[in-house]
Structures are given as C-alpha cells and as structure tokens.
Amino acid sequence: MKITSKEVEHVARLARLDLAADEVERMTGQLDTILNYVAKLDEVDTTGITETTHTRKPGNAFREDAVRPSLPREKALANAPRQNGEAFVVPKIIS
C-alpha cells in the first residue's frame, strides 16, 4: 500500500475536505492505484537535473509601481454569500 486510509483522512484535513467513511475507503483505493502508477518515475535517473516549474523564460514581469483603477468595493463584494457593504462576513472566529 502506498497510502493508508489514515493518511487520506490527514490529507483531507489539510485540504479542508470532509470525507464520509465510504468516501475515505473509495478514495484510498483510487489514490493507491494512482500513486502506484506514478511510482514509475523512480525508474528515471534525475541526478543533476533541475526542476521545471514553468515553461516561460526566467525573469519577472515588472511594471511601474503606480496607482491604477481597480475593482470597486461594491463589485468585489457583489458575489459574497454574506457581506455588510464594507466587508465579507464570516462565522465567528473567536468565541
């Protein structure tokens, strides 16, 4: 086994997902199959090979640090499940 149901539960917690018991079982089986498959990468010798995280040529995309128009507040809030006209409203964090 590459991954146990306990590890799946742990990863789900990290990703803020609740999984029902049957979901944990099913996902564990599927993830195990997938991880067994990707283990074939162990066959490849990658000594001294640098990682590619992006195919764009290295270098940053700089711009002038100047004030420009941005999304008005009411538009930014318009899709919020709860808001008070000024901010996003969420359940109480500290009781």
Binding site: T33, L41, D42
Partner: protein, 486 residues
C-alpha cells in the same frame, strides 16, 4: 447550404459582402440550437436576447462603415472564462450562481472584435476530466453518435461547434482539453504556446499548464480566431510580449522544405488500430504535399502521464484553495465556525474528481512527500522538454494521433480514474513543455466516429502548425462533413 453550417470565414465574407446580416446569421444559429440542443446538450447558459441585441448593433456598425475581425459572428465560450454579463460556473456547484465582476481578456478581445456571444458551454468541473461527464449540470453528447462522449474537458465547445451551434468556441487546454474533444468531434482545436494568449479571467486549474485556445470548423477559422485572441496582456504576468503575426498568411499550399517527425513512442501499445491506420494515412497526405517524413524519438513519453498527474493536481490543490465560501460561490450557511464552514462548503461544493485531485495534489506537496513526488515530477518534466528540444533539431513538427481511441460510450470509463488519465498520454506533453499543438480532422472509424491528427511544434511556431494542418485538411476529405443530426 444552411446558414448555420457555414464556416466562420464564409460567414464573415457574406457579412462583408452584404449578402447576410448578423441578425440573420444569429437567428439561424439560435434556430439551429433550438433544433439540436436536446440531443447535443452543449449549452449551460444561452443568451438569445443578448445575442440578438449584439447582432443588431453589429449590423448598425457595419452600415456606418465600421469593421471588426469578428463583427457580427455568433460564437460560444467554455464556462471557464469569466464573463461580466453571464454566469461562469466552471461546471461546478461551487460557482453555480457566480457572475464575475469582469470579462476575461480573451472575452474582451472577442467583444472588441465585434463577436456575438451566444452563451456558455459545458465542461468537466474545473476542467478536470476527459469526457465532460464531471460537469455538475449536464454531459454534452457527441454530435456524431448519440450516447457517446464529446470528450473533455472542453466537451461543450467541441460538441457545439461540430453541431453548427455557433461558428467557433473558445476552450482551455491543461493536458489536452481542447485537442482531445476537437478530435473526438471532428473539428479543429488549437492549444497555443504557453504565454501566447492571456489567461486573465480564465478560472485557474494548473497555472503552469493552462492555456486558452480556439475550437473551430476548419483551419482558416482557427487562424482567424488566433488573430483576435493572441497577444500580450499586462494583467497576465505569464503572457509574453511578442508580435502577433497574421495567422491566415500561414495557410499556404504545399509543404516542401518541411520536415515532419514521427515519434515511435506515440504509436505504441494501446493505440487503436483504426486510429493508427487513419493517422498513418494522414502522414502519407503530408508527404504528398511535399513534406519530408523523418523518425524522431521522444524517449520520456511513457512518463508524461505520471508527471502530469502529480504536477497538475499539485497546482490545482493550491489554486482551488480559494473556494472557501467567503468571497464568492457556494457557502454552507449552516456551519457554526469558520473552519466548519470551509470544510462543509468545500465538501458539498466540489464533485468527486475535483476532490480526488485536491487530495493527490495536497499529498504530493505535503511534508515528507514533496521531494519524492512533486520535485521528482518537476525534474522529469525538464527531461520531457529536452526531448522536444532535441526532436525539433531534426524536424519542424511532430505528428501523432490525439487520443488513442475514437469516442466511447458515456459511462464506459467513468469508474476508473487511472484508465481515463492514461487516455491523455498523447496530449499531455505539449502542456508540460509549453509548446503549441493542434488537432485536425483526419478520417473516420468504421463506426463513423471522427479521428484527429495532432501536430506539435516548437514554442511560438503556431504558423507552421496551421500551414501543415491546412495542407492535411485539403487532402483528408473531412471539410464540410457534418454529423448526422436532424
């Protein structure tokens, strides 16, 4: 010939010559959608009033002597592209009622060119899938055969264009999501070079792989769409500032001096014999057009699925962290604490495949596994890129099938995630290497299902793809072939 079955290029000519108005064009397409949509099931959101209003405006502008590359042309958008006037669901319950506050840059470019946006089309949830069955709302059906998949994740785009429900569509391609459905539905689909087309307003799946591109009825239409959508955008820091050519100028007859590379690794086990036969016949057509055919090798091809299904989920797990019920989208309103709200919102808002990929990605990035999985995959990704660099010293384009098989029955592969992942083997490498690739109709299976040919070229060599695709199109006898719809 019915108005709706014109190509985009033909419709544009008729508009330019005053033989048709945009209203007539748009009404014909809306009537077509009305007639076939029950069977095709491509549209998640249709805006007939908005489309007709835009069409009338286009007609008025044209009378005033104004022009636009797509002035008055009706087309559709994959529901992954933000539209300020329409919902953008990404095929997910999570964004069921989301209307973005702005247009994606590509949408803005289409509107500025005068296009008439018909509506938004179905896709796998957050573009994760190869059949569009992961769409939370409906599964588009292949216009060529009832009950068969249109492919994915841009399945709605491909089905709509193949069924003449609009003259083109924009899709997105992270591992083949434009090319594979184009191939399964018998149309043209291009994934441009990473950085060629702005991704601003494209809902992010895997940011180092995602690219927007056109799905069209023929190669000329693909070039026309590229002329409008390509170019630098200061809102997308990965977009590259580089001159945009007139892509239609690339459509020259003949391929003398062009070297076509055939990678043995792409014609291996698991390739359907009908697909192989059809694509090899297509290669003969390229030779007839004057191309020189050479053998090339892409030795790390067998690892690309493994690399992709670590890197793409890793990036997705990070990108999809934003769906927390706070700023937009679904929220479980019954949750009492903030953490409970995050957890129940995400658990109820996301479908199975999205959860699966978030779990894989989170695992691959988690302490203790990062080196073994994410880092290792990123190193093999370098080797896959180097394979292409080497191959492109011996050839100008690499030719292969797009998908190992023609379309299959809806439901047939939906219980086996890995089997479905493996069907992406021929399209994934282009995303990992950031190179452009196109799918062009090449022939049919004995069952009458379309089979596409994939062409891949070096960075920013879209023109050579279009030229080769145009020459294949002239010989393959697929132009004007339409699916058996009412």
């Amino acid at each position: 010939m019915d108005i709706y079955s014109l190509t985009l290029g033909q419709a544009k000519e008729k508009l330019d010559r005053g033989e048709l108005s945009s209203r007539e064009l748009t009404e014909a397409v809306l009537a077509r959608i009305d007639a076939v949509e029950d069977r095709v099931r491509a549209f998640l959101h249709l805006d007939p009033e908005g489309a007709l209003a835009r069409a009338d405006e286009a007609d008025r502008l044209r009378k005033e002597g104004r022009a636009g590359e797509l002035l008055g042309i009706p087309l559709s958008l994959k529901d992954v592209l933000c539209t300020a006037t329409m919902p953008t669901t990404c095929g997910s319950r999570m964004l069921e009622n989301f209307v973005p506050p702005y247009d994606a840059t590509v949408v803005r470019r289409l509107r500025d060119a005068g296009a008439v946006i018909l509506g938004k089309v179905a896709m796998d949830e957050f573009a994760m899938g190869s059949t569009s069955e992961n769409c939370a709302f409906q599964t588009p059906v292949n216009p060529w055969k009832d009950g068969y998949v249109a492919g994915g994740s841009s399945g709605g785009s491909a089905a709509a264009v193949a069924a003449d429900e609009g003259f083109a569509s924009l899709g997105s391609d992270t591992g083949g999501s434009i090319r594979q459905p184009a191939s399964l539905c018998g149309i043209v689909g291009m994934k441009p070079t990473y950085g060629r087309v702005s991704r601003y307003g494209l809902v992010a799946f895997a940011s180092s792989l995602d690219q927007v591109g056109p799905l069209t009825k023929d190669v000329r239409d693909c070039a026309l769409m590229m002329n409008v959508i390509a170019g630098h955008d200061h809102r997308d820091s990965t977009s590259i500032d580089r001159e945009v050519p007139d892509y239609t100028a690339a459509l020259v007859d003949g391929l003398r001096g062009i070297r076509v590379g055939i990678p043995g690794e792409y014609f291996g086990d698991g390739l359907d014999p009908e697909v192989e036969r059809t694509v090899r016949r297509g290669i003969d057509m390229l030779r007839d057009a004057g191309a020189e055919i050479v053998e090339v090798s892409l030795p790390h091809t067998e690892y690309c699925v493994a690399v992709y299904y670590l890197i793409a989920p890793a990036e997705a797990s990070s990108n999809l962290a934003r769906y927390d019920g706070v700023r937009y989208g679904f929220r479980d309103r019954d949750a009492q604490s903030l953490i409970d709200m995050y957890r129940s919102t995400r658990s109820r808002g996301f479908g199975d495949e999205v959860k699966r990929r978030i779990l894989i990605g989170t695992y691959a990035l988690s302490a203790g596994y990062y080196d073994a999985y994410y880092k290792k995959a990123s190193r093999v990704r370098t080797l896959i890129q180097e394979d292409f660099t080497t191959a492109f010293t011996d050839c100008d384009l690499v030719v292969s099938p797009v998908c190992p098989t023609p379309s299959w029955k809806i439901g047939e592969k939906s219980d086996d995630p890995l089997a479905l992942y493996l069907s992406d083997i021929l399209t994934i490498s282009a995303n990992l290497a950031g190179i452009p690739a196109i799918s062009v109709p090449c022939g049919f299976s004995d069952d009458g299902l379309p089979i596409g040919m994939q062409m891949q070229a070096a960075h920013f060599n879209e023109e050579i793809l279009l030229r080769a695709a145009h020459n294949l199109e002239q010989r393959a006898g697929m132009l004007g072939r339409r699916p058996p719809l009412p």
